[in-house]
Symmetry: C2
Subunit: 250 residues, 2 copies
Amino acid sequence: MSQSLDRALVLLDALADGPRTLDQLAEQAGVHKTTVLRLLRTLESRRFVQRDDARHYRLGTALFDLANRSLDSRDVRRAAEPALRELNELTGHTVHLASYEGGEVVYIDKFESRHQVRMYSRVGKRAALHCTAVAKVLVAAMDPDRRERLAATIDYVPMTANTITTAEAYLAELAVVAERGYALDDSEHEDFIHCVAAPVRGQRGGVIAAVSVSVPKVLLDHDGLLALVPDLLRTAARASAACGHTAALT
Amino acid sequence: MSQSLDRALVLLDALADGPRTLDQLAEQAGVHKTTVLRLLRTLESRRFVQRDDARHYRLGTALFDLANRSLDSRDVRRAAEPALRELNELTGHTVHLASYEGGEVVYIDKFESRHQVRMYSRVGKRAALHCTAVAKVLVAAMDPDRRERLAATIDYVPMTANTITTAEAYLAELAVVAERGYALDDSEHEDFIHCVAAPVRGQRGGVIAAVSVSVPKVLLDHDGLLALVPDLLRTAARASAACGHTAALT
DNA sequence: CGGTGGATTGCGTTCCGTGCAACGACTAGT
DNA sequence: ACTAGTCGTTGCACGGAACGCAATCCACCG
């Protein structure tokens, strides 16, 4: 709709992968470098980019500032933090916090594994709906017809041999998840990793986020993963309590 | 320079403080709401904003994605992480990683205090040059005439009774910092908090970042703070080693 | 000193972005 | 149920902003 803005956003995207020069950017965005220069100047004046040296530009501090200001206002993350940190320290594994926003699932916080073999991910990354434990938890919490509508729109790309590939199987899985209160990802996304996830509830009892623990299979077999469930559920309950969910602590 | 882009950036800034409606944004940016609508649409198509409900917009996932992709490519942060985490676990206090970029100091990582009383800050926040320990470390590492030029440009806003308010005093302090290898902030920024900071060195031995520990005075007196220095220096050395600084581990 | 690769500037044209005004959707108040 | 009000959305015509070109400047190197 707005040409110049759109181009600027492409530039930001390109810059996220590291410092770039003027004509690298010009080529990547497919516009004249004069244009790139002017857009960069505007971005620079608002600190969205900054000059690295004479010929390299990189993302500026405004982006981090914005992202974190915005995260601050998402109370889930702040409220859930202590509980997640503790789970991370207790188990030593990667802990994620994710929420459903506008048709997709996004990681909003992450605590790194202490182990050498660890999962690659990052805050802000989007998660596939059909092959992650957090997504199952979040979608399972929706009312049935919304689930079905959503299930019909998913592109069931097979990631591993275990990936769910049909809407029917997905809906059946969601029913199980809703019933037992936590979700599994049995190497459905990556061959070497499996996960467990549980819901975080807000004031009204609605599910506002999902916590998950992701573990490389070489470190823990299926039973070992299931053994984490009690700790996971306790963490989810603590996080829910911190978010104002009154009936969470038993 | 680029009007529409500039306005869009203002919009993003406004949205960082929470969801906004169309004409809230129009008023804040001082433009017609039609314009706001179109800019938002472009931003939305690239996931920089997303609709909250029928009349509220909020920042989208692209921002988090960009910020974190970019942080990934800043090796300091990744490399220093384990060392900082350990310091945080050891002391229980707030640990910051900051670097000097384009005339200012920015927090690029943070580990939260375990205590109830804690410092408020956030990744991406900029730090004042004259009243923070990390800034002193980073500026003290510059060559003398760059220090002096910088010291002359600072606006020495007094934050507390202890804040340094003249360039002479600042330069003298920097000399002390450079000499002893760590910096103090003796409640120069906030009345109730004091900090210690030490430099993280890269491959060539140059200072590429600063680690700091921030402690409320009610938890630790001045001597208690100084007692943290050995741990701090060990952490800084480990972080330096992780960044490729060969002579750091003794 | 000339050559090369990059950033930067001036300028004319054109198309993109803008504000206005009218419309539509939805809410609240009586 | 009607009306008034609020807010998001669309069509349109005008003007200036953004564009690409080409020329210039600047730093670096042989």
